[in-house]
């Protein structure tokens, strides 16, 4: 029997909600020079670089008005919505701050000295030589949330205006050119009604808009549709769930694992693995990642992380410790061929993970975000300096050219098929991946295709029985984890989650297990073979998984969501 596909139950959402003309009167709107949406490494690197360039060119800065550079950040502060492993390649941030700051001046947890890769079964851990793509000598362990706070300070010092608790709700497009962004409303009740302190969003007009929204970006997704920028392959994602632990014994190496608790057969579509990184001598970052093309209704990345922790390899590291943080976020996994065909449109630049710049086999993306942010800044600056009408078609093409001649493109080309190879299962995928590495991407000759995550037919295997029952001190349930993320989303606001709410049971259950924050619950039967889906939007940590698996995440009221500090 063919399985049910979530893609067949699309959410009630239209791009028209996210793209449209400006509606404010000219005296109501706000004018800025360059508007960046997203206070992550990509957006903030762009703001930092612009600050550097404008400092050397005060006449251009003057032209750009009172607010030459503005950054919209939907979280409580930059860093609140940032989460990653992370082991960062320092080359991009060194370039960004060349001659000004050394990496020792930045918040990091030190250089990687040793690393180990294991293939796990339930009872064993087989150490395997790190695949060539996974050599991390010279790379630095960081908390991307802390890095975000640091970059925001630098950007502000350089003259950028950071606007936290401000969501980018709608991309303003005027005669085929991007004219800015409308921010989200605040103070609406559950049914959309304005509350006594209702504050409407505002049209922010900009000469150039940079979208740096990260994974599952609201405006980015709509912009790609609107300007016809789809890549060759559909985009796909993975979901990572992470914890930070205070540990009694320092960890002296970074660890990656593959295998258990994921299953190897191609039909399950379970691709992923884990990381365990030391954060100094007192803390450890641990996370589990699984590609969202999986088929099992009961697959839960959060519970897989809890299950993974019961392996003796992990117990040795965490036993006696204490969890101090939790979070979840998707990772854009499609690689080169899923990237937008062009990363610019009239008045618009796409940077970072939103542009698909993630190297999955190397588990790297932070430095691509920073490098692309820097290149976007240089293109924007050059265009404005030339007196370009940034809305002219092709005016921002130099950005694409710069990116294509950079190491970012070279890296992504090399690994362009690796992720997709694993569609064929663990062993076949492994063999193919090795072939790709050895030939530096020349093999295979024909590029693989990908299917959207939501098109995977669902199946049941009773997988949930293997998840450990949470004990509240070593393994945790989802609700207490949402609490640990600092999430205090205001309840009385409209739901920001778009899903079809009458779906086959398998789809509802799949969403229930998928979501790390327990947003979706299976409700009553409708009597026609479908069930109701109950949605608890205030639990949402905005990881983006729902967008990959049949629904659509939109930004809630600014300031909502998690308040990550050390993820």
């Amino acid at each position: 029997m063919k399985g049910v596909r979530p893609a067949d139950y699309p959410p009630p959402f239209s791009d028209a909600e996210a793209i449209g003309p400006a509606t404010d009167a000219p005296d109501e709107r706000i004018d800025v020079g360059i508007l960046i949406v997203g206070g992550g490494p990509g957006g903030l690197a762009c703001a930092v670089r612009l600050g550097q360039l404008l400092e050397e060119h005060p006449d251009l800065r003057e032209q750009l008005g009172d607010v030459p550079v503005a950054v919209l950040e939907k979280g409580k502060q930059p860093g609140s919505h940032l989460l990653s492993g992370a082991v960062m390649n320092p080359r991009a941030i060194r370039k960004l701050f060349a001659g000004r700051l050394a990496i020792e001046d930045m918040p990091t947890y030190g250089e990687v000295e040793h690393e180990a890769v294991y293939l796990l079964t339930k009872g064993s851990a087989l150490r395997i030589p790190p695949p060539p793509t996974m050599m991390n000598r010279g790379n630095w362990v960081v908390s991307v949330s802390e890095l975000g706070r640091f970059l925001a300070e630098q950007a502000e010092a350089g003259g950028a205006m950071i606007l936290p608790e401000t969501a980018g709700q709608k991309l303003l497009v005027d005669h085929g050119r991007v004219a800015g962004v409308r921010t989200g409303d605040k103070g609406r009740g559950k049914d959309g009604e304005p509350l006594p302190n209702f504050e409407p969003g505002v049209d922010v007009a900009a000469r150039i808009t940079v979208l740096a929204e990260g994974t599952a970006g609201h405006l980015t997704t709509a912009a790609i549709d609107h300007f016809g920028l789809h890549g060759r392959n559909p985009q796909i994602w993975a979901l990572g769930v992470k914890e930070v632990w205070k540990v009694p014994r320092p960890l002296h190496r970074i660890v990656h694992t593959m295998g258990w608790p994921l299953r190897k057969r191609a039909r399950y579509g379970e691709f992923g693995g884990s990381w365990i990184y030391p954060m100094g001598s007192e803390y450890v970052s641990i996370g589990f990642v699984v590609g969202l093309e999986y088929a099992d209704v009961e697959l839960s990345a959060h519970d897989l992380l809890q299950e993974f922790k019961t392996h003796r390899l992990v117990r040795k590291i965490l036993a006696g410790g204490e969890r101090v943080a939790w979070g979840a976020k998707t990772i854009t996994e499609g690689g080169l061929h899923s990237m937008p065909s062009k990363l610019n449109a009239p008045g618009l630049l796409l940077v970072g993970e939103g542009a698909g710049l993630v190297n999955v086999p190397r588990l790297k993306g932070v430095h691509y975000a920073i490098e692309s942010g820097r290149l976007a800044a240089e293109t924007a600056f050059a265009a404005l300096q030339r007196g370009e009408v940034a809305g002219r078609s092709g005016a921002l093409d130099p950005y694409d050219e710069a990116l294509r001649s950079s190491y970012v493109w070279k890296d992504l080309t090399e690994v362009r098929n690796m992720r997709q190879a694993f569609d064929k299962g663990f062993y076949m995928g492994g063999a193919l991946a090795s072939a790709m590495t050895v030939t530096k991407g020349k093999l295979p000759p024909k590029d693989f295709e990908t299917h959207p995550n939501a098109e995977t037919p669902l199946l049941r295997t009773g997988r949930a029985t293997s998840y450990p029952a949470p004990d509240g001190s070593y393994t945790f349930d989802k609700l207490s984890s949402v609490f640990a993320s600092g999430n205090r989303t205001r309840d009385d606001q409209p739901s920001h989650i778009r899903v079809e709410t009458s779906v086959p049971r398998e789809v509802a259950e799949m969403w229930h297990w998928m979501c790390p924050a327990q947003v979706y619950e299976v409700g009553e039967e409708n009597g026609d073979g479908t069930v109701q889906v109950l949605v608890n939007p205030s639990n949402c940590v905005q990881c983006g998984a729902i967008s990959a698996k049949g629904g659509r995440l939109t930004p809630p009221e600014g300031g909502s969501g998690p308040e990550y500090t050390v993820t």
Binding site: I30, T166, T183, K186, E199, G486, E563, T565
Partner: protein, 258 residues
Amino acid sequence: MKIAVCVKQVPDATVHKRLDPGTNRLDRSGEGALNATDVNAVEEALRLKEASGGEVVVVSLGPEKAMDSLRKALAMGADRAVLVSDDAAAGSDLVATSRALAKALEREEADLVLFGQQSSDGDGAVLWAAVSDRLRRPMVSQVAELTVDGDAVTGKRQTEFGYDVIAAPLPAVVAVSDAINEPRYPSLKGIMGAKSKPQEVISLSDLGVDPGEVGEAGSRTTVRAVAPPPAKSDQVKIEDDGSGAEKIVDYLAEKRLI
């Protein structure tokens, strides 16, 4: 009318709220937010200003980075921010804080001084009463509704016994409860404009306050130890066998709750 609002920056209510094991005091590192009821006080000040004109200045005692939360008040519409920041003031208790704050307020010579009633980190830091005594001004606290008429203020004060309507001549000190209003969200224009509003950082010597009068030195209370609360030792869990309700009644009676 000049209104001074005393605000406090408190650690953001994330799970990392903890006591610093070194000093046994609240670990104030990490980002801060404006104490929730102080936001109500700022809102009330703004409404009064919108009704009858004047100036709203926010005043605080804290580390330099507390200016970030004062900027939030500026973004809402306050006109000026004054931060008393001095290393010597760290660890001040009620007596020491009220001393420094009173001096800062004297400098402002406001007609009306507003406080928010509850501090989320001190759970009942009754600062306004101490400050009013030092300023030698009439005070009305626990105010759920406030009107200003010419040179007098009238507050609806909420007590355990109902509402008392209290009137006091200006200059006066009023502490408002969170029932008084629903604070506005700062507009984007407000947030952007906040940076260019006057923000003053002053030290204790600017106020004529001796370092020995504040901080640990100027405090009269001390924290001796911190411990997790004792585990509930007499928890009872029963299965209902039909007599559950009776057992509950007995339990409540034994605890003299009914």
